[in-house]
Symmetry: C2
């Protein structure tokens, strides 16, 4: 397990493989983000996006799925406080295969809680062509050894 002491500013982790399906895009949109360009191929083709795209919040859900599968089992984290600077850079479309790269940007010791610290992690989610589709900076709580 990697604790607060074990992660260093500049460390880069690459992980994840998320296959984006049309069915999942539409299912998520029906439940949470029912806008025409997330729901319906015809309507999406007539929109500025030129075809069906995933809800940005769905891409966020894919991000946390990759984090929980690959980072949570090996990093001694205790949830996140939030994030900064989330950017939706390019559309995510059916058939895309996403992966991600996370870089440790800053370590902040806690004065009030000596058993933990906050780590700023910048993540970039890319598609199968290496194009970044979303980036964000997470504020993650790490336990100390």
């Amino acid at each position: 397990m990697k604790y607060f002491e074990d992660v260093q500013v500049g460390d880069v982790m690459r992980f994840g493989r998320y296959e984006v399906t049309r069915e999942e895009i539409v299912e998520y949109a029906r439940q949470f983000d029912p806008q025409p360009f997330h729901l319906d191929e015809e309507a999406a083709r007539a929109s500025m996006f030129g075809g069906l795209i995933a809800s940005g919040w769905h891409t966020g859900a894919m991000f946390i799925r990759m984090v929980v599968e690959h980072m949570t089992p090996v990093h001694a984290t205790s949830g996140a406080m939030g994030f900064d600077d989330l950017k939706w850079i390019r559309p995510v479309r059916p058939g895309d295969v996403l992966s991600m790269e996370s870089e440790i940007r800053e370590k902040i010791e806690s004065r009030s809680r000596p058993d933990r610290g906050t780590v700023k992690i910048e993540s970039r989610i890319s598609n199968q062509r290496g194009e970044v589709v979303m980036s964000l900076v997470s504020l993650v709580i790490y336990l100390r050894r």
Copy 2:
């Protein structure tokens, strides 16, 4: 419809009613954020949260659902570029009823695209006791008249 010209810094909108169920918390967690305190009541009771809580990204999904139901039909928006300063402030639990308050914080004209502008909107999502559970600042694209 409210266009870029029609929204003013300081405008406040209050809307939404989202009933959070145990079933939906567990279903979302199974698909996207399978951590014990989102999945299993027993495990959650033993965790620092003392009971089942919704994934923070699920709370984000509830936010976009309320926005699409109540704001998108009456504001001439064209999607969002991203978010700043998202904070998960308090746990969201089964039985909670969420609503939200959004305030126009800044209007930014586009030099390259005279038909649109960006509006910074700060939103606070609260539970039935009026406690803020999540806040964030959205960068929303508005069309001009």
